[in-house]
């Protein structure tokens, strides 16, 4: 095909201006690459702004633990540089155990985290009450992970994009990508093209539209935000059974997950639904979610709820993101499928991809996140 005047040439074309795309843009631009970011709406306009902004270590699998630990370390290097509107709060996560059986799991979780080099502290029942007086009586205890943190993802995304731009990256918003070819040609809806040495598909739930073999399904979530109640709770509070809710492969599930924002507002979550037809708020799901929150925090009932919204996570079958070459498109790499961990792991995702591009060894083993795991023999295709 001939090149046209409207065509842009660059080294790295990034499709998607969410926090993952923004982190990749900052990383590659800092390396001196000529980067173009293509965003169909506005930066951080989709899953990035719909989520909680929790920087959390999760241990569903060794690979998830390794990625989130690495990611959190990268965040802790960045957090001190972030401005006030990033709403950084190193409030820690408090995993709440309902029963003695769950307390046994708490001990195990502490050991697993310790194995990953993550500090965590088991709280007995009275320590739990002291740490969070709003929790109801009769809970069994908890696990505090003090270095987990909270940010406001839209402003952080903008900051990452601004850093990329300072290093020469170009950001184009409101340009939809219609089609990506395996040789690095990106066709835009306005008829123009971008020719890149490498295309990073960081389009979240939109990734399969450009890389059809990417095993990503949208997983709907609801969140409620309240008015400001500073100091009402002090940690991000999550029920220990949360991972069970993320593991449910089909149907819908809710779990207690509440986050104090720097503003004093509370975010109340969480829900997970596959195969949701619309982005409409479903009061039936909201009710279940809030009932669950109320079981842990009875006083939440009296707070003023301002807004409810939904978002779609980009979920993969094995709960791990797709980071690396697309098996079907030689010049396309994936940076998608992070489900609920895109905020936490965006910096790590960018670093792994940069290392690969430069031919450097990565700090952690990148193999568990390679997209080819789903096409190799024995891989579990979605």
């Amino acid at each position: 095909m001939s090149t046209r005047a409207s065509d842009i040439r660059c080294e790295i074309a990034i499709v998607g201006g969410g926090i993952v795309g923004a982190a990749c843009a900052a990383e590659f631009a800092a390396e001196g690459c000529r980067v173009v970011v293509l965003e169909r709406g506005i930066a951080a306009g989709e899953a990035t702004s719909a989520g909680m902004g929790h920087l959390v270590v999760l241990d569903d699998s060794p690979a998830q633990l390794a990625l989130t630990v690495y990611a959190r370390r990268l965040w802790h290097a960045l957090l001190p540089q972030l401005p006030a509107d990033a709403e950084v709060d190193v409030c820690g996560t408090l995993w709440v155990a309902e029963s003695d059986e769950e307390m046994a799991l708490v001990e195990r979780k502490r050991d697993v985290l310790a194995g990953g080099g993550v500090a965590a502290e088991v709280l007995a029942v009275d320590e739990l009450r002291r740490a969070e007086p709003q929790l109801r009586a009769g809970l069994a205890g908890g696990l505090r992970v003090p270095d987990d943190a909270v940010i406001y993802p839209p402003t952080v995304t903008r900051l990452l994009l601004a850093r990329a731009a300072d290093a020469g990256a170009q950001l184009r918003t409101r340009v939809a990508v219609r089609h990506v070819e395996g040789d690095g040609r990106v066709h835009l809806a306005d008829g123009s093209r971008v020719q890149a040495d490498l295309v990073l598909n960081a389009a979240g739930t939109g990734a399969p539209a450009l890389s059809p073999a990417a095993p990503i399904r949208p997983r709907k979530g609801h969140l409620v935000i309240t008015d400001r109640y500073p100091g009402w709770v002090h940690h991000q509070l999550i029920e220990l059974g949360y991972l069970r809710s993320t593991q449910a492969a089909a149907g819908e599930s809710v779990a207690f997950n509440i986050q104090p924002r720097r503003t004093g507002q509370l975010l109340i979550g969480s829900s997970r639904q596959f195969d949701a037809e619309t982005s409409d708020v479903e009061m039936r799901v909201v009710a279940k979610m809030v009932q669950r929150a109320r079981e842990y925090l009875p006083g939440v009932e009296a707070l003023s709820a301002l807004r409810i919204w939904t978002g779609f996570r980009a979920a993969t079958p094995d709960k791990l993101p797709l980071i690396g070459p697309s098996p079907e498109q030689p010049r396309v790499w994936l940076a998608a499928g992070h489900e609920g961990l895109g905020i936490t792991t965006c910096l790590a995702t960018a670093r792994l991809l940069r290392d690969r591009w430069r031919g450097h060894a990565s700090e952690i083993d990148a193999a568990p996140y390679l997209p080819q795991r789903f096409t190799a023999a024995g891989g579990s295709l979605a």
Binding site: I42, A44, G45, S49, D85, P154, T155, R158, T173, V224, T226, D227, T263, I268, V281, E282, M283, R284, V286, A287, K288, V290, Q291, A293, R294, V300, E301, A302, L303, S304, A305, L306, R307, I308, W309
Partner: protein, 435 residues
């Protein structure tokens, strides 16, 4: 798990909003044979317009409609906030600490309008208020006797409010009407054949008698004070004056309350909710009446309410009898609109430091740098606070020509506990019939 608060109601018609349009719609539909439930989120019926003063009774016309609604058997819930809808037929309603699911077959939206507030330096100071807002507050007991008041903005409401405040013992020194003399003269010349009420003449006469300065072609540019208002500076575009005062009452017009139409995905026009001749919206089984279909005042609201009420009851013949009167009132409203269009200068009142989003203290500088209302929300928190953009987003529609963001439930702030009562499985156990 059971929720002791939850219960469920059935009705034919649910009317949202107990102002003139809602009351007229409810009474009319009930007289036509529907079982009607009327919800209003305030403790008062009749909407802001018919709110009586302290110790006073509502105006006669309000009493007539209340009596009609009553004798037709309308069930009325004051202090009931409808906050979410579940398709196809469930409405979630908060009443104090209780939450109800209401099943409806038809719905009439009559949620009215609120004032448009425009930002200028100092507009966030205590005692800078909406003119309609001040009037409502005075009716609920807010003291103004002996206070020095400047009334500013546009339209007949300025005079009505000024006259009301004077009767309550306030000293209204100036009325700043942003419309020019020529626009006013044009309006007055058309009144002769259009006027549905004598409000204009009466109010003008009254202010003349009270020696208030009526200043067409003037508007406020700054409010001054440390912890509350001390003075206001206004201009005619060339000169500036500063007047000491205790209260600045601003009336830059009204805007339809579009949160409910937004939640239901009703089609909108630049004036408000789109409706057909029978006040039917683009949503199945949903009608709309009053200010949300386009501003037109109480007379038009009553007519539209009756059309919607008849139509919801399937009585199109009766509804159609009101069409001519509605058309006449709509012509008058359009006339008002043209005459009192806001002047461009008002778009340039905020300085970079002026707070535009009052809930989150977001400045004009931060907002102006954004591409649209959604970007402003995400990157600056504009519209993310307690009022959920009701004030700043409507101002930004005027200032930036930005269209409003998608509406998300709840339609109004409610207790978190009310959300917990919104699951349906439980509801079926406790169904109760409307009387």
């Amino acid at each position: 798990m059971t929720d002791p608060c939850a219960s469920e109601r059935d009705g034919d018609l649910v009317v949202l909003g107990g102002g003139p349009a809602g009351l007229a719609a409810a009474a009319t539909a009930a007289e036509d044979g529907l079982r009607v439930l009327l919800l209003d989120s305030t403790p008062w019926l009749g909407g802001p317009i018919w709110r009586p003063g302290p110790g006073a009774t509502p105006p006669r016309v309000a009493q007539r409609w209340l009596a009609r609604a009553d004798s037709a058997g309308v069930t009325i819930w004051p202090q009931a906030t409808a906050f979410a809808a579940c398709p196809p037929d469930v409405l979630h309603v908060e009443r104090g600490r209780d939450v109800c699911r209401v099943r409806w077959k038809q719905m009439i939206l009559a949620v009215g309008a609120h004032e448009l507030f425009l930002p200028f330096p100092g507009w966030t100071l205590p005692n800078v208020m909406g003119a309609g807002g001040l009037q409502l507050l005075v009716k609920s007991g807010w003291p103004v006797r002996g206070r020095r008041v400047v009334v500013a903005g546009t339209g007949p409401l300025l005079l009505a409010v000024a006259a009301y405040l004077v009767r309550q013992g306030a000293h209204v020194s100036d009325i700043l009407e942003q419309a020019s003399w020529s626009a006013l003269a044009q309006f007055a010349s058309r009144l002769a054949w259009l006027a549905p009420s004598k409000l204009w003449q009466a109010a003008t006469l009254q202010t003349r008698l009270l020696r208030t300065r009526y200043r067409p072609g003037c508007w406020p540019v700054a409010a001054h004070g440390a912890d509350r208002l001390d003075a206001v500076t206004f201009t005619d575009g060339t000169r500036r004056w500063t007047r000491d005062c205790d209260v600045l009452a601003c009336a830059f017009g009204l805007v339809p309350q579009l949160r409910w139409p937004g939640l239901l995905h009703c089609r909108l026009t630049p004036r408000g909710v789109w409706v057909d001749d029978y006040q039917r919206t683009s949503c199945d089984r949903v009608w709309a009446a009053g200010e949300i279909t386009g501003l037109g005042g109480v007379d038009l609201a009553l007519v539209e309410g009756q059309i919607a009420g008849h139509a919801a009851a399937g009585n199109n013949l009766a509804a159609a009898r009101w069409f001519a009167r509605r058309a006449r009132l709509q012509r008058f409203a359009a006339q008002l609109d043209r005459c009192f269009q806001l002047r461009t200068e008002l778009r340039f009142l905020p300085t970079p430091e002026t707070v535009v989003c009052r809930c989150e203290d977001v400045t004009w500088r931060a907002i102006e740098a954004c591409s649209d209302v959604r970007a402003a929300k995400l990157y600056t928190r504009c519209g993310m606070g307690s009022c959920q953009g009701r004030i700043c987003q409507t101002a930004l529609q005027f200032l930036q020509n930005w269209s409003a963001d998608h509406v998300r439930p709840p339609a109004a702030p409610v207790r978190v506990g009310s959300l917990a009562g919104a699951d349906q499985e439980h509801a079926d156990a406790e169904r109760t019939e409307l009387p």
